[in-house]
């Protein structure tokens, strides 16, 4: 084995990725080559330093929660309750100790009784429904029924499917490109959903006729890690929901209000 060949195999020797015969030949060369010895020491030292510097970063708890929450809802009631009451500790969803299970059944009973006694307001129920729908739209690759970045394609697509014409605005210039639209059923009626994106975050904009909320600008609120806003304008109800930040959602709404619909 000449020096060039040996030098090439040096990282593999450090990582113990060479075959036995390669290793033996490499060692034979290494014993008599000062340059290889020096490089070997340098690289080995770098490798050790990298492993000892605590460079590995763990996934933030909120991300773990968000990704778990976006998985299809096939989890048992226990697991959901565990998430709700478990303080966000991951990996606790299975293998309950009997005592824990008993404690949880008490909590669960109290909780469901609480739900029964204090029936949620319409608004709360709708908010839940929206969050669920938003999550569902991300799960099954069912974000858009019509995929187009062109508002002149998206808008006519709704014709005949709805008893109203939703305003469709193109905000690509503002950093919120339109990616498509879909039809959804919400709050007891068919609604139009325009799908926009901010970077990798989808923004679902639900629209249906009505005047249920106040005039814009709306207040942003947060639920299950998603940001939502609700307003009414020109006899249409709007709900916007996204996992992007509050500032991004505010920016989206400001741009939406500033641009006239087609």
């Amino acid at each position: 084995m000449d020096h060039e060949q040996a030098f090439e195999l040096l990282p593999g020797y450090i990582d113990q990725e060479l075959s036995l015969s390669e290793s033996l030949e490499f060692e034979r060369h290494l014993a008599g080559c000062e340059q290889c010895q020096q490089t070997y020491e340098q690289q080995r030292s770098v490798s050790t330093q990298l492993r000892q510097a605590g460079l590995r970063v763990e996934a933030p708890a909120e991300l773990v929660k968000r990704i778990k929450g976006a998985l299809p809802g096939r989890r048992s009631l226990w697991e959901r309750l565990a998430d709700r009451f478990g303080g966000g500790a991951s990996g606790r969803s299975r293998g309950w100790a009997p005592v824990g299970a008993m404690a949880f059944s008490v909590i669960a009973l109290t909780w469901s009784a609480g739900l029964y006694l204090s029936a949620p307001s319409d608004e709360t129920r709708l908010t839940h429904e929206l969050v669920d729908d938003h999550v569902r739209s991300l799960q099954f690759n069912h974000l858009s029924d019509v995929i187009s970045t062109d508002r002149h394609t998206v808008k006519p697509w709704f014709d005949g499917k709805l008893d109203f014409a939703p305003p469709v605005v193109d905000l690509a210039q503002q950093g919120y490109p339109l990616v498509g639209g879909r039809l959804d059923y919400l709050n007891g009626r068919a609604v139009a959903v325009m799908v926009y994106r901010y970077k990798l975050h989808p923004i679902n904009l639900y629209v249906w006729p009505g005047n249920d909320a106040g005039a814009p600008p709306p207040r942003i609120y947060e639920q299950q890690g998603y940001h939502l806003a609700h307003w009414s304008a020109a006899a249409m109800n709007y709900w916007a929901i996204t996992d992007a930040g509050e500032a991004e959602l505010n920016g989206f709404i400001a741009n939406l209000l500033a641009h006239p619909a087609s």
Partner: protein
């Protein structure tokens, strides 16, 4: 389309590797929020493509999706992203390049000085070397797994690791002024 078995299999095989996914994304993007976006998108893709997964090595499979998601994101964000300043081949341009890949403030707080130097050196390493170093030294993957994830021959994995370590050695040399 998503029967309970698939969901359960995904939870058992793929979900446990979220720390690896985030670690790799964090070192590729240099930024917490971007890394979270990449990992979340990668998990959505992984779930969508889970049917095509044959069940050999879920972590390597997931990491290749994380890497692909990162490169898509990287191309879309070219110009705004932090990673456009890549370290030159010539390790002597250390002073100019370290100015470009400044340490994030939170990392400054939690590390001692020698760890800080290693952190900074890796941060400043060119992307093509940084990714193989992270996969090897932090995720402890084999050459075969790295070759599959990055889509290069095993020989290239070896030579990139060698060159990456040489550059890091130069950045970390004790004669370094900023020690």
């Amino acid at each position: 389309m998503t029967d309970p078995d698939t969901a359960r299999r995904f939870e058992t095989l793929v979900l446990p590797h979220m720390n690896s996914a985030f670690n790799v994304a964090r070192w590729l993007t240099h930024n917490d929020q971007d890394a979270q976006d990449v990992v979340q998108e990668a998990y959505l893709r992984a779930f969508r493509f889970f049917g095509g997964f044959r069940g050999e090595d879920a972590r390597a499979w997931l990491l290749s999706i994380v890497r692909n998601t990162f490169y898509t994101w990287h191309q879309q964000n070219r110009g705004h992203a932090a990673d456009t300043t890549e370290f030159e081949e010539d390790t002597h341009s250390l002073e100019t390049s370290t100015a470009n890949c400044a340490e994030s403030p939170e990392a400054m707080l939690i590390r001692n000085q020698s760890q800080q130097r290693v952190h900074k050196a890796l941060r400043c390493l060119r992307l093509e070397y940084r990714e193989v170093i992270v996969l090897r030294e932090l995720e402890e993957l084999s050459y075969k797994e790295i070759a599959d994830i990055v889509g290069i021959p095993m020989g290239t994995v070896m030579s990139r690791l060698g060159r990456g370590r040489q550059q890091l050695a130069a950045l970390l040399a004790p004669t370094d002024q900023e020690a």
